[in-house]
């Protein structure tokens, strides 16, 4: 069942439809918010707030296939609002150990090295200006197309292109300095 149908049924008060929608999207929203906020705990709080807002606005939703952009616009606005209050991004290293399993072709040392690389990349992403980070995370990590990112961020496709280009340039400079790029 597509997202628009689930939203229409949610608007009619159908709990099962809303539950299905939450379970379909909560991981994506959580991952996005972790990258935006740098804190699993805060991200988990905002996942709840995001879906409570989705529920509250279900009656007004006229997405016509753009649910993903609409959802991430809500989550992004909440994240930016939280960051404004916090002023300075506090990156809390999240523990992924219980979720990560070393690949069959990789030994423990490779795995450790990979985790260190991931950590450095996450920190570099976290250091980006908020809008660059938002555009990059939505595009690269959440798989949104430029057009969808533009809708989620209420900007234009060239605007998104520019944000992502600048984000990539900053990351290249940051990570090359840390020896992650040749």
């Amino acid at each position: 069942m597509d997202d628009d149908t689930l939203m229409a049924r949610t608007a009619k008060g159908e709990e099962a439809a809303f539950r299905f929608l939450v379970q379909r999207w909560e991981q994506g929203v959580l991952a996005f918010l972790i990258h935006m906020l740098g804190s699993v705990e805060e991200a988990e709080d905002l996942v709840q707030d995001t879906f409570v807002q989705v529920f509250g606005k279900a009656g007004k939703y006229e997405g016509q296939g753009a649910f993903k952009s609409w959802l991430f616009r809500i989550a992004g606005n909440l994240a930016r609002s939280r960051l404004r209050r916090r002023k300075v991004l506090r990156w809390v290293q999240f523990d992924t150990s219980e979720h990560d399993v070393p690949g069959a072709d990789k030994g423990p040392l490779d795995h450790l090295e990979q985790k260190e690389t991931e950590s450095r990349v996450r920190q570099a992403v976290a250091a980006l200006p908020t809008r660059q980070r938002q555009a990059l995370v939505l595009h690269r990590f959440q798989g949104l197309k430029y057009k969808e990112v533009a809708a989620a961020m209420e900007t234009t496709v060239p605007g998104v292109e520019s944000l992502i280009q600048r984000a990539m340039a900053a990351l290249r400079s940051d990570l090359a300095g840390k020896g992650e790029l040749s």
Binding site: Q48, F55, H99, V121, V125, L136, F141, L181
Partner: protein
């Protein structure tokens, strides 16, 4: 030869249309500078792909909390006057209204005495409840207040 530097990011991300993609691809075949930059861009793009946030299993779902804040709230609320009033809120309002009326409305000696006897307090005969008051009204509001505080 016009370089395609500005198109490389979109090229690597698969965001270019067919014609644009072909144009960039053709250029990369002839321009070592742009080709080197394309490799660099792709390397960073792939590196980013390894740094996605961890996935969580369904047992970590936030659904119970979300449900409590959406459908759970609906069950425990009444639509009243265009806004959501919780049962506790209505009970509190009833208690406050009861007390306010008990203060404002005249009391009754017999009812006040009964109340004073039951609670062991002397406020039933105080200025809060007038000796000349209507028994029915004060009893009704006090009963409502009790009901509100119980719920």
């Amino acid at each position: 030869m016009k370089h395609v530097t500005k198109k490389l990011q979109a090229f690597v991300a698969g965001e270019l249309s067919g014609a644009e993609r072909q144009m960039v691809s053709d250029h990369l075949g002839q321009c070592p500078a742009c080709a080197a930059q394309e490799v660099e861009t792709r390397q960073l793009w792939d590196l980013l792909g390894e740094a996605t946030a961890p996935s969580f299993d369904q047992s970590d779902s936030a659904w119970p909390e979300i449900q409590a804040r959406t459908f759970g709230r609906q069950e425990g609320t009444l639509l009243y006057g265009g806004g959501l009033w919780s049962k506790a809120g209505i009970a509190g309002a009833a208690l406050a209204a009861g007390l306010a009326l008990a203060i404002l409305l005249p009391g009754n000696g017999a009812a006040d005495k009964a109340l004073a006897d039951e609670s062991g307090a002397s406020w039933g005969s105080s200025f809060w409840l007038d000796e000349q008051s209507d028994a029915g009204l004060s009893e009704m509001w006090l009963a409502l207040a009790d009901e509100g505080s119980d719920s």
